[in-house]
Amino acid sequence: GQQVMQIPQYQHVQEGEDFTTYCNSSTTLSNIQWYKQRPGGHPVFLIQLVKSGEVKKQKRLTFQFGEAKKNSSLHITATQTTDVGTYFCAGRVRTGTASKLTFGTGTRLQVTL
């Protein structure tokens, strides 16, 4: 079945450093979504990428969808303590009229002063 892996599993940075998480799918995706889950919280939708090579920015966050639509990345510039949480990518695969969203394994980000 479809697998969506993220690396790293965990990263600890000091406030002000940059952070990147990478998402890789075993199959070509029709689109990819990114979610953030704060400790003790629930996943919250951040963004969706649809086109091959697409790049979107939200303030300090930059999201990229690979040319082959099998990988994606999330880059945070100058992290802040409010960025702490687990970041999930979720890839959608279409099969005929059906589609399914598979969540990645997640990257837990810890930010210290």
């Binding site: 629930h42 996943p43 589609s99 969203l101 969540f103």
Partner: protein
Amino acid sequence: DTAVSQTPKYLVTQMGNDKSIKCEQNLGHDTMYWYKQDSKKFLKIMFSYNNKELIINETVPNRFSPKSPDKAHLNLHINSLELGDSAVYFCASSQGKGFLSNQPQHFGDGTRLSIL
């Protein structure tokens, strides 16, 4: 005015018991989901319903039975609870007609199930 609400928030019970978790969404969405998040934070889809119809049923023991009385509600009943069922269960909803939905998923706060 919570969008996706689950009850209870915490559930502590003994092995072998039967329990239910309820979920309601007031977003007018067509599709609802149940996810299981284990201690390693892996988020796995269990079931999905579109307008009361089951559309996704992953490899889940048949001790788990979802029920959707209407498109705003999706409940999860678990029979004969086992230690391995301990996890956080999230309900979610999204707009669109299930299979073709490209819309974001809105999650509830989760139900933390602990089996003693």
